[in-house]
């Protein structure tokens, strides 16, 4: 059945038109000004739809996941003012004046971002073996918490309120955050440390209201017995039991309120409540065991002869400027040269990483050989996407067979390989493989495993994020191609051809491990790589 001009037009718009249909569309366009007009209007509509979707995506990506998909923990709200075109223009003018490269945005997203206001009350700074109730909200450490219920089914959590108070929750427990100055404990055990600036912090329970005057104290609420206990370890607390007079409690004093009445607690039990010191020790021992497990596992993959180069970024001294290559077939020139990038802590306290911040920061490497494919896999913490292109690994030039791997400003990852358009011709083209948006506000500043595999024979590229496949694309008509490297850089774009307009591609973030394989790994192996190296 022959397709109508409209459906040909739509196929073309979606980039899903066959060569044959394309020829037909072209013939129709040639003879019909009405159809050409239709095409322009459809393109115009596409432009509007994409602009809106892009603006939405950019704003949405700056709201934490937990705020998007659960209603129990109230979302952190970002107040957004209307799009202000002049602000975008001013930002562009500033860029020009600074002598930076010019780039024009379709949407004044940058302007909108500057208008964000974070409406949180607290930060979840640490969790330990935490499980959450009803598979509902799954906050991760580092998340900003707004007002709302916080339901811990088991494990420990440390919440730091914007007022300065630190609260430890020992699951199972149900806490409701009311403001930076107030929380309600519905059940479970909590312990609070309230420094002088947070004096006046209040805890409500069904049986009591407790106001803190700069101290350390703990609360246990047992809904089955309808009881509340407060234990003061240091300082002074005002406890106001429901329908009773205010009780002032000092160091070593406690109070229990239950249906039978009020009762003083003569011996407080600090050991019954988790404290910061114990939590520190647990976190450290957990990190230690993860680090040793990873070290053990790494031994075997260092012997994997599919590895072309493996940079673990572990220093021997602060001024270490060589990035050691642990691959079994190590040859000296595979050692990377660190330029600018500074040492910092990696996934665990005992593991190092390199921090890339300034436009000059980079690791220079040189790899030789011709391959039929590749896998890049790295542990990365992205702190921000400052550039149009943010480098992961790029070859210095862009000759046929040379790969470029980078993160786009909007959070998508892009992998591309250059190829000669015909064996006997000089011209070079490239094929770019994109992922959907991966990096957003909720995963910046965290360690993630990022990988890409490329099969140069089949023309197939697969992207992975934390062990999961995020996109796969196969070129239907790829002729046998190859992969080569030469001089390349991690975290920047080395020495691009003179006069190139976008040479500033430095990464803003940290890399803790970077492995390059000679062939595409399978999806199951990606899961293993992620499991073996994940932070906790």
């Amino acid at each position: 059945m022959k397709k109508s001009p409209e459906s040909l037009l739509h196929d073309w718009l979606h980039g899903e038109i066959s060569a044959e249909d394309f020829e037909r569309l072209q013939e129709m366009l040639r003879g019909c000004s009405e159809l050409r007009k239709r095409l322009r209007h459809e393109v115009n509509l596409d432009l509007v739809l994409r602009d809106h979707a892009c603006l939405d995506a950019s704003l949405r990506s700056w709201i934490p996941d937990s705020a998007q998909d659960n209603k129990i923990l109230m979302p952190v709200r970002f107040l957004q003012r209307p799009r202000v075109a002049w602000a975008a223009a001013a930002a562009l003018a500033a860029m020009l004046a600074a002598g930076l490269f010019i780039r024009f945005q379709t949407n004044p997203v940058v302007a909108a971002r500057q208008e964000e206001m974070n409406q949180g009350s607290a930060i979840l700074t640490r969790v330990m073996n935490a499980t959450w109730q009803n598979g509902g909200s799954q906050p991760r450490s580092g998340d900003t918490l707004g007002t709302g219920l916080f339901q811990l089914a088991g494990g420990l959590a440390q919440i730091e309120f914007f007022s300065g108070a630190t609260l430890l929750v020992d699951g199972p427990a149900e806490l409701e955050i009311l403001s930076p100055w107030e929380a309600r404990c519905h059940s479970g055990k909590i312990r609070l440390r309230v420094p002088p600036p947070a004096r006046g912090f209040k805890i409500h329970t069904p049986e009591m209201q407790i106001e803190d005057l700069g101290t350390e104290f703990a609360v246990e609420v047992d809904p089955e017995e309808s009881s509340t206990e407060v234990h003061v370890f240091e300082g002074e607390v005002h406890a106001q039991p429901t329908d009773s007079d205010l009780v002032v409690l000092h160091d070593g004093e406690g109070l229990r309120r239950c249906p039978a009445g009020l009762k003083a607690i003569n011996t407080v039990r600090p050991e019954d409540f988790i404290c910061l010191e114990r939590m520190d020790a647990m976190t450290q021992s957990r990190a230690k065991s993860r680090f040793s497990a990873w070290k053990e596992w790494k031994k075997q993959y260092c012997e994997d002869d599919r590895v072309l180069a493996s940079y673990t970024f572990q220093r021997s001294c602060n001024w270490e400027r060589a990035a050691g290559n642990d691959a079994s077939t190590t040859v000296s020139f595979c050692t990377g040269g660190i330029v600018g990038a500074r040492w910092t802590q990696g996934r665990w306290p005992e593991k190092d990483a390199l921090e890339f911040k300034r436009p000059g920061d980079r690791v220079r490497i040189r790899l030789s050989g011709v391959y039929e494919g590749l896998t890049f896999a790295c542990w990365i913490k992205v702190d921000g996407l400052d550039r149009k292109y943010n480098a992961l690994l790029l070859t210095d030039g862009y000759e046929p067979g040379e790969p470029h791997w980078q993160i786009l400003e909007d959070g998508r990852v892009m992998f591309s390989v250059a190829y000669a358009i015909a064996p006997d011709r000089q011209e070079v083209a490239d094929k770019v493989y994109y992922t959907p948006v991966i990096f957003n506000h909720s995963n910046l500043g965290r360690w993630h495993h990022l990988a890409v595999t490329y099969d140069a024979v089949k023309g197939e590229t697969t992207h992975y994020f934390d062990g999961k496949q995020v996109s796969r694309e196969t070129l239907p008509d790829q002729q046998r191609r190859h992969v080569i490297y030469g001089s390349c850089e991690i975290g920047n774009w080395g020495l691009p051809a003179e006069g190139h307009e976008f040479p500033v591609r430095n990464l803003n973030g940290c890399i803790d491990e970077f492995v390059i394989y000679k062939l595409p790994l399978q999806g199951t192996e990606m899961v293993t790589l992620y499991q073996a190296g994940k932070q906790d």
């Binding site: 393109v43 596409d46 223009a89 020009l96 004046a97 959907p436 307009e501």
Partner: protein, 177 residues
């Protein structure tokens, strides 16, 4: 180049470019096989336009001037990627370029009208369009996510598009009347 130019010149250029950017993008998309290519061509266009800004006569039409550059950059891009199958022949490119330039004001009014028509859709419809047109996604993936067959998803989107276009047309007629 950028170091020596007076600040007023940046401002003039930025103002002009920003105000014509949407029109230029639409123009380039009529010539290019997909949106990713449009971004690349737009980057090149902005740079070339800035470099040649001295040659621009402030009394003349910026859109026409910039579109000429955009058209040239599009052709350069297409030639570089001459293995791309879905590229129109030169005669069609010429026709499309010429006509969209003639029509560029109408297209701009249409975009404004489309924007307000889009606002009138209900939340579910907006969400569908948002999913379908967000950067870097493929139609069939979105269809799967929305729990529909690709065919059904296409049809829904097509219907929404058609209703948006006719809504915009009505609005423009009213505004013109």
């Amino acid at each position: 180049m950028t170091d020596s130019a007076p600040p007023e010149k940046y401002e003039t250029f930025v103002r002009l470019f920003v105000s014509h950017e949407a029109r230029l993008r639409g123009f380039v998309r009529t010539l290019m096989p997909h949106w990713d290519a449009v971004d690349e061509v737009m980057q090149e266009t902005s740079l070339v336009a800035w470099r040649k800004f001295d040659q621009f006569d402030p009394g003349s039409n910026f859109m026409a001037w910039a579109a000429a550059i955009a058209r040239f950059e599009s052709l350069k891009h297409l030639r570089r990627k001459s293995r791309e199958r879905l590229v129109f022949n030169d005669d069609i490119l010429d026709l499309l370029a010429e006509e969209s330039l003639e029509e560029s004001e109408v297209l701009e009014q249409q975009r404004a009208a489309l924007g307000s028509c889009l606002e009138k859709l209900d939340a579910r419809q907006k969400h569908l369009l948002q999913m379908a047109y967000q950067p870097g996604v493929k139609f069939h993936e979105v269809a799967a996510e929305a729990g529909k067959s690709t065919q059904a998803f296409y049809k829904t989107i097509q219907r929404l598009r058609a209703s948006l276009l006719s809504c915009a047309e009505r609005q423009m007629k009213q505004a013109g009347a």
